[in-house]
């Protein structure tokens, strides 16, 4: 299993707050990694740094041994690192299908075409296929603005997934999803992820969720790594429990 993504001594601070402090991490092909940690421990910042939205003050980011530290989000995405968002970033005036069609057109690099229509049959079916995987069997013609929060979160991931990345970063895929939907949503996402064999890194609050789906867990604290191990080992670690769950020791 080769290393696909690597961060080398990456640091970034906002004023006094250290969001990333000398982070050196390696992510192997096909791994599913969960990131846990309290708010402000630098989880989202880590995703932003890797995808080029935030530039690190020190350190380098390597994708397949290529330095991508200074690349813009678009360039990073085109190399094969896609991300989803804590607050879903969707085209709310358009339908679910149209959102997906746009994602596919970009993925196929035909988004500059200005003569052939977006809705070619082949494309529509391909889009519907991806949507089906994520459980949008019907209502593909629904306007995104009318989707429930859970649906948006899934679609947000689905769009990133449709780009066929080799690394997929999911920023709190279940935040804002009602407790009873949580596992449903997560199941859907993880099934697809596992099937596709994409390297997935997901930021998550919920221990149970992480324990259930990750085969490796990173625990963030003030921009540093408190623990990095298999889920059961990590959650056995009292320091982690104290830190993350706030349990007394």
């Amino acid at each position: 299993m080769g290393v696909v993504l690597e961060t080398v001594a990456v640091s970034r601070s906002f004023g006094a707050v250290k969001a990333a402090d000398n982070l050196s991490l390696r992510f192997a092909e096909g791994q599913v990694v969960g990131i846990v940690g309290p708010n402000g421990s630098g989880k989202t910042t880590f995703v932003n740094i890797v995808t080029g939205y935030v530039k690190p003050t020190h350190g380098r980011i390597l994708f397949r041994d290529r330095d991508i530290t200074r690349l813009r989000p678009r360039e990073v995405t085109n190399l094969g690192i896609a991300r989803s968002f804590q607050i879903p970033q969707l085209y709310t005036h358009l339908t679910v299908l149209e959102n997906m069609l746009i994602a596919l057109s970009v993925q196929e690099r035909r988004h500059w075409e200005f003569w052939r229509p977006l809705r070619l049959d082949g494309r529509v079916e391909a889009a519907l296929r991806v949507l089906d995987q994520f459980g949008f069997q019907d209502g593909a013609d629904q306007r995104v603005s009318t989707l429930p929060e859970g649906g948006r979160k899934v679609l947000d991931v689905a769009l990133s997934f449709a780009l066929q990345p080799s690394v997929l970063l999911l920023d709190e895929p279940t935040s804002g999803v009602s407790v009873d939907d949580k596992f449903g949503v997560m199941d859907t996402l993880m099934r697809v992820v596992k099937e596709s064999g994409v390297t997935a890194v997901f930021v998550e609050h919920d221990m149970d969720v992480v324990a259930r789906y990750a085969d490796r867990v990173l625990v963030f604290a003030e921009g540093t790594i408190l623990a990095d191990d298999r889920p059961e080992a990590v959650f056995a670690n009292p320091a982690v429990r104290a830190h993350v769950l706030g349990e007394g020791v």
């Binding site: 932003n48 939205y53 968002f85 804590q86 607050i87 970033q89």
Partner: protein, 304 residues
């Protein structure tokens, strides 16, 4: 050397005029995110009402004959500006602009464009088409000899008024409770209304304040020029230029922008008369290219 002094002087005069007409525009934008084309009309109304009142009260023209002391004419101009600003301003805001306030920046702008068309004819209906020449306040001050050419005193009064108005605006925003409310509304509209601030009322006040500035510009420029139909249209595009140069929403920026444009145009008139108009928009473009948000424009951040 003398030449330069004169250029500076002329620039200052034109700048004061520009500042008076653009400060209100940029202030309203800063608070309400609305680019008010009808601003030009408020300027026009101020000019017409001011000139008309002066002509009414001192029918003798420059001789200043009339029941009142000619010195009062300046007060009359001020009152005219306040009258226009505090009646027409809130009227426009409450009756029209408020209805589209939540529809982005373009629709309100276009709405004010419609109001601008309407008000242009309204002025014509009220005051007819004859030019109003109320130059009593202008000629009364006489002139001084500066750097070899003699120069009327009134333009300096104009500069004074501009400085005073700008200063007052600054005080109102930075030193009064209303100002604090305005600032918080600018910072975050939702939060402020959540905190129980009556945002609509703030908007009305802010708009009225901007309107007064516009009318003030009109009323005090009126004695220098002959007030004719269609004076509104020139002003607004100049004000656009000044405000974008200074940075939309920044009153201080408007002051700098006005000075830049004023001096540049004066210089053009003296050294390259061909380009007195061209330089203004060339500068506007240049500034926008190097500093997209103008010299003092804020930056917008979006979190994801």
């Amino acid at each position: 050397m003398e030449q330069l002094a004169i250029v500076g002087l002329d620039g200052l005069v034109f700048a004061s005029y520009l500042f008076l007409v653009s400060a209100g525009l940029t202030f309203i934008y800063g608070v309400m995110r609305i680019l008010n084309v009808a601003h030009g009309s408020l300027y026009g109304l101020g000019a017409y009402l001011g000139a008309w009142l002066v002509l009414r009260l001192w029918p003798g023209g420059t001789s200043g004959q009339g029941p009142l002391n000619p010195a009062l004419s300046y007060v009359v101009l001020l009152l005219a500006a306040l009258l226009v600003g505090l009646t027409v301003g809130p009227f426009l805001e409450r009756v029209f602009i408020r209805r589209v306030a939540d529809r982005g920046e373009v629709i309100p702008l276009i709405l004010t464009f419609a109001l601008f068309l309407i008000l242009d004819d309204v002025m014509k209906l009220i005051w007819g088409v004859n030019p109003l020449l109320a130059d009593l306040p202008y000629s009364m001050l006489g002139s001084v000899s500066l750097a070899g050419v003699n120069y009327p005193r009134y333009p300096f009064l104009l500069t004074g008024v501009a400085a005073l108005a700008g200063g007052l605006l600054w005080l109102i925003v930075n030193r009064t409770r209303f100002g604090k409310l305005v600032i918080s509304v600018i910072a975050d509209r939702e939060v402020s209304s959540a905190l129980g601030i009556n945002v609509p009322r703030i908007y009305t006040f802010a708009f009225a304040l901007g309107a007064v500035m516009a009318a003030l510009g009109g009323a005090f420029i009126a004695p220098m020029i002959s007030v004719v139909p269609g004076i509104s249209i020139e002003v607004i595009i100049l004000a656009f230029a000044v405000t974008t140069i200074g940075g939309l929403g920044s009153v201080g920026g408007a002051a700098i922008g006005a000075l830049l444009v004023g001096v540049l145009r004066a210089a053009a008139v003296h050294y390259a008369p061909e380009f007195d108009l061209f330089v203004i928009y060339a500068l506007m473009t240049l500034i926008l290219l190097v500093k997209p948000r103008g010299l003092f424009g804020g930056v917008e951040v979006r979190r994801i």
